[in-house]
Symmetry: D2
Amino acid sequence: MSVFILLNCKTYDEGTGANAVKLAEACRDVAESAGVEIAIAPQIPDIFRVASVTDVPVYSQHIDGAGPGSHTGKVYVKSIQEAGAVGSLINHSERRLTLAEIESAAEALKKNGMKSVICTNNIATTAAAAAIGPEYVAIEPPELIGSGIPVSKADPGVVTGSVEAVKKINPNVKVLCGAGISKGEDLKAALELGSVGVLLASGIVKAEDPKAALYDLVSLI
Amino acid sequence: MSVFILLNCKTYDEGTGANAVKLAEACRDVAESAGVEIAIAPQIPDIFRVASVTDVPVYSQHIDGAGPGSHTGKVYVKSIQEAGAVGSLINHSERRLTLAEIESAAEALKKNGMKSVICTNNIATTAAAAAIGPEYVAIEPPELIGSGIPVSKADPGVVTGSVEAVKKINPNVKVLCGAGISKGEDLKAALELGSVGVLLASGIVKAEDPKAALYDLVSLI
Amino acid sequence: MSVFILLNCKTYDEGTGANAVKLAEACRDVAESAGVEIAIAPQIPDIFRVASVTDVPVYSQHIDGAGPGSHTGKVYVKSIQEAGAVGSLINHSERRLTLAEIESAAEALKKNGMKSVICTNNIATTAAAAAIGPEYVAIEPPELIGSGIPVSKADPGVVTGSVEAVKKINPNVKVLCGAGISKGEDLKAALELGSVGVLLASGIVKAEDPKAALYDLVSLI
Amino acid sequence: MSVFILLNCKTYDEGTGANAVKLAEACRDVAESAGVEIAIAPQIPDIFRVASVTDVPVYSQHIDGAGPGSHTGKVYVKSIQEAGAVGSLINHSERRLTLAEIESAAEALKKNGMKSVICTNNIATTAAAAAIGPEYVAIEPPELIGSGIPVSKADPGVVTGSVEAVKKINPNVKVLCGAGISKGEDLKAALELGSVGVLLASGIVKAEDPKAALYDLVSLI
């Protein structure tokens, strides 16, 4: 089983513009050295720039299911694809979508050969997301996001419960574990609980030395 | 199997205030006469009034998952329950919710012994809704709502596909069929496609004689 | 100048259903005794019930600008009016609306001879709301709502600045002062800053003795 | 008075990615030749790319007021600025915002030396937007957007009424006229009604020859 790490730059200044490019370069170096897949989700205006200078897989932080047409300000699948993205987060807790929007966004990505990561907040919503059939579901209890307390320690049951629910509904869907993840032991624990990887942000993006933090993250696998 | 009919008053003038009470009385008369369950979903300010004068089951048109507290303007489960509602629509196409809100609304209803009807727009979202475990999922292709063209005729596959998907995910969940339903033949077709009943609105509420329209609706079962 | 007090029940259990009726009775008693206008904004399912048993002015906590039609779950002006409301809060910080929705809601109320109270968060949004021409604008810095720290003490400048801005844009609009208000000295300070009254909630609704708290509120005017 | 034309690419395929770059080049050529200011609002993932290859002023189609931090998927002012944008549309009818969001977005742009164009739907919302103090307000009756019927012809009163309302509230704010604009006579009429320019989209973006359409647009001024 291959491990998958997805680094979310959010709107941190440390992950904006030229800083996003630097983070992507750190992802590339650590991924090559450790033999794991590390992808980055920069802000949407930074997708083109990041994708132009590295071959790190680039995800959008958000996508609307909207097609071509009169959808000013919406994030259109072909626009992020042409800018260089290979997939997108959908329904992050900081950018929630309706159920219909989640489904149309996942469908738009699938039709264009791209990967979707649907974010969820508990076991029941993870089960619902799995029924839609994305590449990944990322379970992130909102109260732990940015807390520094890893979900794998604070609430391991929500991870194992999510993994079980997904297996029952759609075994092709893989589970990522998010919220409070930053260290090697967190990733190790996440994998032991049945997830295939992690979605993380501040622990790396705002670290004094992001590349060192990434090396620590992958040190126990 | 018992048939379930849910009449949505929307914000039609013909279903507002005193008119909602009259519609509820028509529902009661036809339900008793035909031996089927007919429930009504009046506007939220009308729940108390409708529930006070008939014993027709009253559903809210919307509920927020929000608990007690600082949630001005939100629809709180205990408020609609104390007003006399026995359940609620969730995520109607005219009042979409995020996935997390759908789940918390369904959970709030369940904890209070009330019934939930999650509205969906296609087979994939129906499957997702079923994973949450409501009493009912109501499949309503948005393009047919209010069209006068019954979904059972225009797109029978979305109904049978929804019934199959729900059976696989959670066989306790029952499927309602909505959009364009108004006549006896529409209800009959809906039941033949595997649903247990219908969610309908303008075909009855805006009929010249709503009680006659309800009698026609149940005439073939 | 007549003082106006508007009591928001939010979704507090202490302000739900039968408790809302009791709060309305307390408002009536204190209003009569003190000779000030005290109105109540119960939850939407409670409007009919509260308006049926007292003649305290009843406001909705929220209204959608939507007209009659296919607007399931929306709060329609005629529905709250027929239930007994005389006005509505618009755009409370816990139920924000788009600018177009705020304007259409205020317009719908005005056309039906009802009063609107547009809630705002700072001087610039207060000026914008005044340009729409409601009966009242209620300035409530969100960080002070429910804090117990009265805006009149924590940030008097936002109140006087709002009063000035409104006077310049549309002198017919009256300013209410909200957030952290609960005591007689808070109301007195609010009036001294140029507002005509207060919008308040937890300080009264969750008080051990709401009627006594209301008597204290009006004790210094 | 200098004329300002802002071309919105929406999510049209003809305005996505490499096509947005081509449109920007057409804007540049026509602007230079006609001596008017023509700016472009490509999709957000295309801002960097468009701004890198031309010196046409680039606007974002949307911005969130959100600052740096935990705001996944939001459009952060520093991100679009570093990507090369000089301003942003705010509250387009296809991407409506709450009043508080409109104000914080306009404030964020102003603080960073960027220009804001707040879109509105009628005279009252135009007045409200002017009170916030953006560079431009763009009045676009939603029913005319994409209709091919220019607002200047269908409803000239909404333009002149907007211009008057803005003059009274904040004379520093300039009015753009949108919805249905595509030809030279439309721009001429818009200027005669008191606006300083136009916001337009499909009439140019989906034209067989966008550069020729732009030449026609500026031919009568």
